[in-house]
Symmetry: none
Subunit: 83 residues, 4 copies
DNA sequence: AACGTTGAAATAGTTC
DNA sequence: GAACTATTTCAACGTT
């Protein structure tokens, strides 16, 4: 159904852009919610910076990190790099 | 209800973080959807960079747009650059 | 001289990595300088975003610029957006 | 010396932009050199992806990472998060 | 040589 | 309004 130069390309494009704009609105709504929760936590004396740090750590896919490190180890050792 | 140093601070904190993580998941889900739509559009031959440009134009206030454009014009002229 | 599995592969690899690290330092040094100039300009009241826009225009080929602009125009029109 | 609306603003701006463009050229030149070294290494059978991974690790300021982790530990423990 | 993936740069938003 | 963080955008890289 690719038709970027045909007659109905405009309609297709319009559809894509409307879908994106709607999704962006939803996304923004959740971003607002997140901001509110952080604000509430902060109002109750919590260190939001630390909270963000922990959340970020949790978000990382640990399995993937480990896998990469296996290869890395080999080369790091080869050049005499310790950590 | 603020008690970041009391006994139930941990529970409170945990609650905040769980709420945030859930919201972040939702948010991420919409971000993924957006990426997919762009990918689909690209697959159908559309220029996603141009799409992004138009979406940005729509999101910006018209006055703001004119203002920024005017500054760019001024600067370009000031250094003797024509386009 | 390729020998990634031989005995001196480590030495060779180490040499490559050292060369790269040195080059990266130089590169970073210039990136820092650029940032400083922008900061100085900003401190003197200039609109760095506009400066970046002009710099980008200068860097782009004129034909390429026109082409991209034309696509944006087309898309904007196609979805009924005027600016 | 701020004078973005005065008479010599143009000259000042031009000077900033020229300085930046020169620095960008230098920076780009080093980026090219880096790319060449990677290409050479690859041509000799080395895994450039792993090389990049190691280089990135080395670039991280370990001291800073440790410092952050101290704060993070406290909160991570509070919510029963292990890693 | 197009595609997806990744990393760096730039912009936007938030906090102080 | 200055600094920091987060997000978005852009370019490079390897892959098919």
């Amino acid at each position: 159904m690719a038709d970027p130069v045909g007659n109905n390309a405009g309609a297709q494009l319009k559809s894509y852009m409307e879908r994106i704009e709607n999704l962006q609105e939803e996304k923004k709504s959740y971003a607002d919610d997140i901001r509110e929760v952080f604000a509430e936590a902060k109002g109750n004396g919590f260190d939001t910076k630390a909270m963000r740090a922990v959340l970020k750590l949790r978000a990382q896919d640990k399995a993937e990190r480990r896998e990469q490190e296996a290869v890395v180890q080999t080369y790091a050792t080869a050049i005499g790099f310790e950590w």
